[in-house]
Assembly symmetry: D2
Homo-oligomer: 287 residues x 4
């Protein structure tokens, strides 16, 4: 595992206008910032400018504490919405899961090998079944059953656990419960789900069965930020695989798992690397 | 262009039961049929047996005229639904198009090079714009305008032209009109459409715009048999291509054209080669 | 995990001639065999007939012991090369690995969830590093160091362990040693490797670095049976992923891991399901 | 077809150093340039900075004539290699082909529909066979036979025709002759080829036959700039398609054609849009 870089990352979007690139480049140059990445995108239809700039903190004139204030003045001038991140900071991720192990094992193996730059302080599940998987990797496992009547209580317990663990991001690794609006609102842009279909086709329950029924020739998986509308949040990543009449619905399910693992981990990586901006229920991914 | 093979092709489906393969193999062996391809599939859920068998007519004991009668007896015994084709027969295809040229040119170039084993006796369009394309390839072009009030009349004219030309299959090469139920019912399993989305996502009009709006990361195209339900007929083939935030909706449209051409021609080829069985609004494609 | 089916599987190849399908179908029908799958392929260039037939043992007139003798007579008549398998039999797989954990974890998670119908009685590695991974899944781990001088001795030890464990198939899960000709000859068609390139491009060491150097736009992974010629055995499965100038060689390596896992597990599944025939250094995969 | 934009495009590469983005942004802002696209890439291994910047000429303070001089001073300071293009200028493309029509038809149909922003003033072939195709689209066709002895003479004639037509770019649309070193040297970075394999696998002649022989499970096509080393120039784009044991080598050839068309046209589009920088025998494609 490579040591963490010591960089700062700014994610910005604002109304497009001439001079934006110069202003940001100037700000960094004036303070001795060595730019590593500088990605831009203009949504010509919406007239919105998006950028992600990453530079080295070593040798940079402004401290972490000074940065927001000084940059804030510039941001104000251009009506920027912005977020500042430091790559050296740990990123704690809570994993929620139910009964299926493939996404969970995949995330844990990637975390262990350093493939995903995150810490996993806790795993929460509405079932006991994946406790051994969590314990194998030495990660605290919390069984929080969810019933129709006890949902509010269960979510309160989840929030308590997540906050206590200092988790910033929540990954739904085939967690088969719908989060309440209140919970979703608490973590805007911080809950990542993997849905086992090529959205917007087959939202909701049993998408592989619906795909089989419809006779599609390709199935997919979609990772997206969770919003109040089920399976309608901003799409981060999708991938697909061919199927044929030879496959039973069980084969759809099994082959789909490979998609789910890979799509979820790609989306999560970009999120951890601060490469995603959300706007208008869509994502700009500077991958 | 390779000379046409002289083979017979049987497409069969029936309730599954032991002895089916033997019975068919026996029938062919008893009559000296040299089998070139023998594909089977069992839909275990529906308990239906599907098969496609292709054998050489040279040296076969039964003539074209005798075949249906003799095989019919066997078919009756197993309650088979079946169709018999001869690869040496010409397959006449009517192309219907509107304003976009990419699918039309692609089909004509493939027909000319022998890549698609078909004849194209006529092209019908509700616009004049593609007449030069048709004329370049020396194919009769018929302009049949379609208006709301004149639709029935227009379709009557289309049928007249199609019948006069002896066309067996009708390809909608980005033909932007919805066929009436009556017209569809006249040609069951014989009208092939290309829809410019990954169905069942984005049926109906302007799918690329809907895909752009939704922020998907992959777009697709779908070729299917036309049924009375718009964009809901049996899917023959689909393919997809990645898109990103960098692309405008015009780029979706342009990149999608490459999908449309390729997906339509693949589906049409399998249809021409008698490799498709439809059942339960799904296809079995022995490709 | 679904219970194992009780089926017999015959894999056959022989010179093509009329009557083969009938003869096999007849043999099964005569003995009351309920056919579940019957796949054929004819290599027209080489004039070779390939088939895989799977039928239920329940109700079949011949016992496991009688089957080879009775079928042997038919096989002789058509000069068939054949192999008979029973799906109810356990399939023991030895995993050899070195330092990288992604393929190993993936295989173990799939074995545990029943996704791959196999038993893993042992893991052998030339390094200690993956011992914890093996132990987490409760699988015996054997450290067999390999040095230039001690290679013969190490391989002798490997064979001893493999034989003692009753392993039929050997999977090289990113095992970074080249097997000797003698070892390869001992297990023909039973050693499956995953090579981290799109073969035949970039055989041998450091393929991702070579791919990066060449400036390819797509990278791949290849699973193949191991033969005496390095990276030249029959290819079972390949898959690819796009790369771009934005990616460093480390990204090639990381993204490639997802390919390696998926390609290896697909190839292994088909092998376990007895769906692969090798001929002329190529594979027929009845997937 | 949309009207041509009136923009200027600068393609730049130079040793990486702090202040590059600011300097370029400053130059454009000082002269009232409204930036439409500003892409950067740093090859961290080679320490090279690449950029493509496109801005509107309308309202820009410097005329076409002044631009090179004024920017040249800046370029000198940073040791930039640069090229300046104006999107309003016509881009003339000479197409060289042999006997196969699919790439030629595809390019001509795209040119006609405005899908590719180019003019095609001439088509040159070493055979007569595609003359009708050229004539259908009203494009001058020149038959320049190439023999072993007459190669130098033939190439001289080709150059004469290309120069007379004012063609800037040369597309080898399945032109089955190897260009001499002299000819290649005359048009550096201006000759685009489509090779019918996934390079570096199967360079040279008959790649589909070699792929078939090797038993690969995926075939590909590669578009690249032509250099003195056969099939070893900088790769612009590649794509692939699955194959299986069911396909004969003729099917590889036929399915491969779809790849060739699409890959060639994508590469050509990026070239026409001035989105490609070549460096170290690799390409940076700001697509």
């Amino acid at each position: 595992m490579t040591p963490k870089k010591d960089t700062a990352i700014l994610l910005i979007h604002c109304p497009d206008q001439p001079g934006l690139v110069r202003a940001i480049a100037q700000f960094l140059a004036d303070n001795g910032g060595n730019i590593l990445h500088f990605d831009q995108h203009v949504d010509a239809q919406e007239n919105v400018f998006f950028t992600r700039v990453e530079w080295q903190m070593e040798g940079f004139a402004l401290s972490r504490g000074e940065l927001p204030n000084v940059f804030g003045a510039l941001a104000l001038k251009f009506a920027m919405r912005w977020a500042l991140h430091f790559s050296a900071d740990p990123h704690r991720v809570a994993i929620l899961c139910s009964k299926e192990s493939h996404c969970l094992y995949d995330l844990l193996a990637r975390q262990e090998s350093g493939d995903l730059p995150m810490e996993v302080p806790l795993i929460i599940s509405n079932h006991e079944i994946l406790r051994p998987a969590a314990e194998r990797f030495g990660i605290p496992f919390h069984h929080v059953p969810v019933t129709k009547e006890g949902k509010a209580e269960a979510e309160a317990r989840q929030v308590e656990l997540i906050e206590a663990a200092g988790a910033e991001t929540i990954v739904l690794a085939r967690y088969m419960q719908i989060l309440s609006e209140g919970l979703v609102a608490r973590y805007p842009g911080r809950v990542i789900n993997i849905h086992h279909s090529f959205l917007p086709a087959f939202p909701g329950a049993r998408p592989y069965h619906s795909a089989f029924q419809r006779g599609v020739k390709i199935i997919g998986a979609t990772s997206h930020y969770v919003t109040a509308d089920l399976d309608e949040g901003p799409i981060i990543e999708q991938d697909v695989i061919r199927v044929s009449h030879k496959l039973a619905v069980e084969d759809f399910v099994r082959n789909g798992r490979d998609l789910e693992k890979v799509v979820l981990s790609r989306a999560l990586r970009w999120h951890l690397e601060r490469k995603i901006l959300s706007y208008n229920n869509k994502t700009v991914v500077f991958a």
